[in-house]
Symmetry: C2
Subunit: 383 residues, 2 copies
Amino acid sequence: MNQLFSFEVAAKEGTARAGVFHTAHGPVLTPIYAPVGTQATVKAVTPQQLQEVGASLVLANTYHLYLRPSDAVIRSLGGLHAFMNWDGPILTDSGGFQVFSLAGRDGKQSLRRIDDDGVTFRSHLDGRRHRFTPEKVMQIQENLGADIVMVLDECAVPDDYDYLKRHALPRTHAWAERCKVAHHRSDQALFGIVQGGVYPDLRAASARHLVALDFPGYAIGGLSVGEGKHEMYTTLEATTPLLPEDRPRYLMGVGTPEDLVEGVARGVDIFDCVLPTRVARNGQALLRTDKYNMRNAQFAEDPVPIDATCGCYTCRNFSRAYVRHLLVAKEILGATLLTMHNLYTMLNLITDIRASIVEGRFEAFREAFWDARRESSSAEEGA
Amino acid sequence: MNQLFSFEVAAKEGTARAGVFHTAHGPVLTPIYAPVGTQATVKAVTPQQLQEVGASLVLANTYHLYLRPSDAVIRSLGGLHAFMNWDGPILTDSGGFQVFSLAGRDGKQSLRRIDDDGVTFRSHLDGRRHRFTPEKVMQIQENLGADIVMVLDECAVPDDYDYLKRHALPRTHAWAERCKVAHHRSDQALFGIVQGGVYPDLRAASARHLVALDFPGYAIGGLSVGEGKHEMYTTLEATTPLLPEDRPRYLMGVGTPEDLVEGVARGVDIFDCVLPTRVARNGQALLRTDKYNMRNAQFAEDPVPIDATCGCYTCRNFSRAYVRHLLVAKEILGATLLTMHNLYTMLNLITDIRASIVEGRFEAFREAFWDARRESSSAEEGA
């Protein structure tokens, strides 16, 4: 394995770990939450604002950037870091998840067709036909130039045991091998992806297969796609112990504040999720243990910040009434201020989680977190 | 006159002046261009970004804020400065211009009806009936709490001599007197507005009337509303010499880079215009002597900044190709980056204009400006 991508576990408490993952664009302190910049921009904020809210690792989507402006254009402009002006670490997904999600867009299967060699799909932009294979996806991600890149996998429905076992898993494993062979850039860490739905025996088989391929990091895919929280947590409990201690573990597409706390408790190091940025553009403010619809009339004359204990730009400078006014008036700044607040909430939470592990008080932190949530929801019920 | 609002002319070259106008929220170095923050936000940027591009005076619209969230709410939240988190000087218009513009919205006159006492209109938001009188507009602007506030005037079509002379001017003058009587806040400078369309004799009559009322500053209204550039410039030449040397002159709703140069040459001190922010949201980049449609395919792989000589955040950090990508992908960041660039272009131009006056080389600056414009447009023709 490339020595660049060493992962040091700095502290452990139970299964929770605090670590450092080294990349060509600096260290990633784990556990970490990565904001999502689908089209080479975290929606509604500048890279400067992203830095101010405490972001380190940022995710971008291979599917979207391949279609527009294309990986060739991004490569010619110096790669993703230069293109989007983010000098910190970047992670790209394989594009597989977006392609597999295409089926649902018009209710027909016609937008994509999967076979053992790869997947053929139509662009959601113009309907043109494209094909992703493991080799193609490696070439695209090498062109994009992120620090962490992902193998192509098949992200199937999590509760179809038969399909997973007969088709999705064998493909996922064969594609991981092909990706490993096809990937050449020594400044990129290629992560494997463990699949297997909600079935411990399939997860175990998948983990075994991928670990044998010796990736510098392992993702846990196919979760947070419709199964319940309980299934997600028990699947994590069955999976993370099978992954090597000295490699980071990335839970893809997850999640909420409670998912961060519970994911870390089960040994997860890296998270990404569109939740805080997406709900911001719908007017929702995330707090560590609550959430508000900021369009609500109750905030119309409310002079206090969204969260008086929050240190973000929005909460340091603006009232709830102003944020509500911006949303009602459909002003862009409303989306920007809520995005900054929501990202800060997530990044501040993960920073506090890390500190609690380093200081050996993660379990106390976790208990206090759940106590505060229970208090907040009973206050709402009482209101 | 309130001593707070003294205006010192620091340097003069011909009719062009460099000055300092003092307000309760700090000095305004003139000539100045004020970005427009219609709904208590300069669209698509934070106050921090506004400060970074060099803004000092910011305009907000009384009509819009009166309707939503209401001047009473803004007052209860500590006034506009606290509400929008802008600690620099703020100017509010009287709301009259927006109300008079309402007629055009559905081609009928029914949205507003003017009489000698005031104007009755229907909200463009919900159709409800409202009434502005000079006294009402003063009360609203006192609630909003800007540093510079404007009298209610009638902004009529600029080339109907008879209507202007018989109705619009007498009303404008009577309302100016009533505003002066009704205005009480000693931390606000109330500016008079000279009207009179494109007619030198009417402008002279209006200037005489208003100057007799001894306002701390004078606006020139009713221009840039359809008359040609030539008419605007000759009207300015006929008007500014009639205004006192020791009071700032504000050309409302103007303008383009060339309007700034030519307005200053004719003795204007203050400008405001939605142009740079509005065209930004349509994908247009303003340069001092040119403009680009950044959606244009010619920029798709262009690695250089919008303007290599520009010092703004956008030009220091992003390529034309990236800005185009954001616009094509309909990303909010596209509007933000272009807004920052366009505001910087205008503010940097006015700063350079001021420096040239202070250093006694404004005429040379003006000549070089027009030379560069001619070069840029002949380059375009040649392309």
